[in-house]
């Protein structure tokens, strides 16, 4: 498949406007603004079947339609570039190597949604991306792709980068909005949803970097051709970031619905010689781990849930038999504990509790009872938290305990890794 999202990134100057335009950049913006009405674009995005690439997979066109139906103005457009899900590094190449693709996607979205102000909420951990994005935005202003009179069509859209400061929870869209308002990034109550009352109480459309990067393609090839890429239920190109015990980790642009097996063994060159597969986390740390027998599962929003996991951000983490999964999950839980915002009781107290128990199992101080308590606590957190963070933490523990009970029991019995 021809690369779209990662087009031209081998070119060391790919982030420059001239290079981007040399390979057809901003052509789609021009045709969108000159030949289409905002309504047409929203309809096309709906018809394309594009689903949000941030993790939840909400149909983008539907989100846009809800926002466009709200009579309140101004409306705000926000790009979620707070890529914090461990294992995920797919947005980084777009931000650092192909920033104009993101900007073009956002300007088209702004035109469709009649937003005059946009922000790219960039995670604090990507300092270079900030420099690159800001210089790309400058270039776009100079060329008239941003500003008060874009392409001389009396269409106004101003864009700037807002840098976070290290909080995983800000990937949740309402927490992100709180953070953009200058406060602690604690999630807000929904409803109202951001599409109706987001930033400063105004309709706000929050989309992931990769989602915006898909927009120019939909304009270019039309919704029907787009819908034919990959899985018809959730089509389009998808970025998979693969890490862990494979020969060639990295970001791969493949059609939605590519199987895990193809990703791991064909594109990434398989495992290190002599090792066997122990488990795969398919969509970032907060998606449940899959056992090796699920390797044929297609990576999309439809098939992974059937296999007991989620597509999440499409971050594939591969573990071979040299890895102690108890240790992995102790570390994972340290992460969830550290990133729990503290707002709701089950997540704040429960993640710490689970980390405690996993820590005791890892260092050989646990009893069989502890595992029951762990399951109990996880069950109590599931479905009781304010936002998906705590749910995710409980979900991955339950999947781990259910699928790798032998390894846990071995730890408890022999006080060491198997």
């Amino acid at each position: 498949m021809k690369k779209v999202l990662l087009k031209n990134i081998e070119n060391p100057d790919s982030a420059l406007l001239t290079e981007y335009m040399r390979v057809g950049g901003y052509k789609n913006l021009k045709s969108a603004v000159k030949e289409m009405t905002p309504r047409d674009i929203i309809d096309d995005v709906k018809e394309s079947g594009l689903r949000g690439r941030g993790g939840a997979g909400f149909p983008t066109g539907m989100k846009w339609q809800f926002a466009s139906m709200d009579p309140k103005f101004p409306k705000y457009l926000v790009c979620n570039a707070d890529e914090g899900e461990p294992g995920t590094f797919k947005d980084r190449p777009i931000l650092e190597k192909n920033p104009h693709l993101l900007i073009e996607g956002m300007v088209i979205a702004a035109y469709a949604l009649q937003c005059s102000r946009g922000y790219i909420y960039l995670r604090g951990e990507y300092p270079q991306a900030k420099v690159i994005l800001e210089s790309a935005i400058d270039e776009a202003y100079k060329k008239g792709f941003l500003g008060d009179d874009i392409l001389k069509r009396h269409f106004k859209f101003n864009l700037s980068v807002y840098q976070g400061a290290g909080a995983y929870i800000c990937g949740e869209e309402t927490a992100l909005i709180e953070s953009l308002e200058g406060r602690r990034g604690q999630p807000r109550i929904k409803p109202p949803f951001p599409v109706n009352a987001g930033l400063w109480g105004r309709p706000t459309i929050v989309n992931n970097v990769e989602t915006f990067a898909n927009i120019p393609l939909i304009i270019e090839i039309g919704p029907k051709s787009y819908a034919a890429i990959g899985n018809t239920a959730c089509p389009g190109p998808k970025l998979f970031s693969v890490s862990g015990c494979v020969k060639r980790p990295g970001v791969y642009e493949l059609p939605m619905g590519t199987t895990l097996k193809e990703i791991v063994y064909e594109h990434c060159g398989g495992l290190v010689d002599g090792r066997t597969l122990k488990g795969i986390i398919p969509g970032g740390l907060s998606t449940p781990i899959l056992t090796p027998d699920k390797i044929d599962c297609a990576m999309d929003f439809v098939n992974l849930p059937k296999a007991g996991s989620q597509l999440g951000s499409g971050a594939v983490m591969v573990f071979d038999d040299s890895v102690c999964l108890v240790k992995v999950y102790e570390r994972a839980m340290k992460f969830f504990e550290h990133e729990s915002c503290g707002k709701c009781t089950p997540c704040r107290e429960g993640t710490g509790w689970m980390r405690n128990i996993l820590g005791r199992i890892e260092c050989g101080r646990a009893t069989a009872e502890d595992v029951d308590t762990l399951i109990d606590v996880a069950n109590n957190i599931s479905g009781a938290t304010f936002c998906p963070l705590g749910d995710g933490a409980a979900g991955v523990v339950l999947a781990f305990v259910n699928n790798y009970r032998d390894e846990i029991d071995y730890h408890i019995k022999y006080k060491k890794c198997c």
Partner: protein, 824 residues
Amino acid sequence: MITITIDGKKVEVEKDTTLLQIALAKDIDIPHLCWDDRIRPFGGCRLCVVEVEGYDRLLSACSTPPENGMVIYTNSEAVINARKAVLDMLLIHHPLDCPVCDKAGNCKLQDLAYKYGSTESAFKEEKKHAVSAESPFIELNPNRCILCGKCVRVCWEHQGVGAINLIDKGFNTKISPAFQEVLDCEFCGQCVDACPVGALGSKPFKYMSLAWFLEERDNICPYCSVGCTITLNVRERRIISAKGVKNKGVNNGDLCGRGRYGVDFVYAANRLTTPLIRENGMLRQSTWDEVMQYLSIHLRKIIKTKGPDSIGAIGSPRCTIEDNYMLQKFMRSVIGTNNIDSDRFGYAKIQQAVEMTFGLHTLPISLNSPLDKDVLLVLESDITSTHPIWGLKFIEAVQKGAKLIVMDPRETKLSKRSSKWLRIKPGTSQAILNGIMKAAIDKGLHLKNKRSREAGNLDALIQLLKAYTIQQVSDIAEICSREFTEVIDMFLKGERRLTAITIGPAENNKGLGTALAASNMVMLLGDGPQALQMPATYSNTYGMWQMGITPDYLPGYEKITDKPGKNIFKMLYEKGQISALFIIGEDPLITYPDLNKLEEVLGSLDLIIAQDIRLTKTAEKFAHIVLPAASWAEKEGTFINAAGIRQKVNKIVEPATDATPDWKIFRNLSRAMHHPIGMDDLSALKEKIHQIKLHIGDEKWNYVPVPYEEMDPPDDDYPLLMVSGNIMQHSGAFSVMSKSLSHVFADSFVQINEYDAEFFGLKDGDIVTIESKRGQAKTKVRISDEVSRGMVFVPLHLKDSRMSELYVAYEGFAAPIIAVKIRK
């Protein structure tokens, strides 16, 4: 209306609410810890989760709106299990130190654990240990904290302060001020009432009593004219502590620091316990029999030799209407004079202006008035200090989207929450109002309303306002004319305007002219008197006026046309006007201006009777007879708040030794003088008051144009304007008696801007002499950017400062601000 089913019962409900509110209204108990109807739902504690058909997750009732056809279970097995699980997690870090916790017995967590908790937790790790933060009133014990965040949100969203916050993240989160230092706030204590557990406690009440020994008794707060209901915790007939209780009183559970921490004045060390009599220049203990006989003889002698009009009386805005009614009854029928007045330096100006312009004898405010307005104008009034709980309504209005315009040289809580704040020169509100009127006339707004057009004196007003162009007013007020234009536009564009001004006796930055200009403006704009909110000052200022404590009105605002009495300016500031004076619940030497003059007049009188709950400065120095009065909480009676609402004051504890309710003292005295005035008991007195017909006057609009004048312009010798007022924690007589409140600020001080401080070579904490053309006073310097350049601010009513020596007793239109100089 939509229909939902809760626990099998179909109910009709409003759409715009939450499942929790619906359940609470139907007496269905859903436990909750982080919800409070004064603030936005938070959804954090997860105790209020309920099961809703069609959802696989449990939903938090506090944040879920009802939908038509929703089927809800509040007590299913899943719900109970979830509650138990949440409680188990809340108790992970709670120290369970209930035996030494003041909240025990009144703690929501304790109650819930009792109901749902298991006896053993599966949690086996160490509990966290955090350090506590302290302040004079509020103690923070983070180990007990369950992080519901209610205190933080009440402090910010409702109280408008933001003194505390959640600090750190996740598991390590704690409630703290910014730097873990002592809490630096206004000490309203609202966070303490909001705390469902014992994490926030009131220090003055610490270890005083466990909850189950306390009896709760409601009373009306003795401080300002809002008239909040405070719930007193009483143990063995002694007041231990005070709190606000949801759904009670005009305050609906809100309280300020004075109300919460200031009621201990009842137990002040300087309370009077017996009558005193002056002998050889010294006051000595006496008995009621002795003083009554003495008074009877001497008063009759003065009436006989010098006539009844040589005797005068001053009533008290802190006494009940029963007390004040009896005072005027005693003076008018037993003595035979109308020489009755009260502190004329504050609310009297409002009364006067209201009568001159609207033709009304009284104009109560409405406590909810800010809430339905779209633009609020506050002129040189620190409402959240003088009327704290009414002030909260302005903050609430801003939260709801109203625009708030503040004109004040001082930074106040409202200026911080305003849409626009102009730092005008002190005392120029009147010029500002004239400027707004001029702009309105230029826009033709005065022609829009028939009443505005037809009100008397319009031409004279238009004529006067010619001199008040935006530029001229900006020059007077020392503000930028462009900003002033913006503010005028913002105000005049409002569809529902409100203007608020306070004029308390301690505030010298507004005068009769200010109140008149504001009245002129609401008439000119066609908004009418209801759009002007000028509240009475103290708990019963309003009631005192209604009871005729004034030389020219009988009870019920009935105007005396034949022979009005002498007012305070005559009685206290002109020698030879009277020879005997009855002072009830006032301490003129501390709170009245022009101290030197006052001392001269008081020193010349033949008989001064001071009736009070404590030995006042005036009594100590000048009184011949001192009568001990029962304090608030030791007697029954009635206060009328600024909104004109009559509220019953309850007797909670027994009076200090011989102290007697004021009304009873007058009854006894009239008996001793062989001139009984009836009303032998309280019910007869109340019946009599009940029968008073109110003459509120016929509303007839009449403009009273008054040019802006500066009473005492600053010059090279006296370069600074001195503004006086109250601060959050002190409002005069009672607050300085309170041990807790005096703990925060006891000594007087003067606030000065850092630029001026540098110019005059002053440092924080320097003891300085402030001098005006009339006198001088010593006090301590506090450098603060709350005041602007060219001014200083002094809180009045703090003890031993002789600040009032600097002031002039002034009856004119201008604001009685004085120019001063400061030297070390």
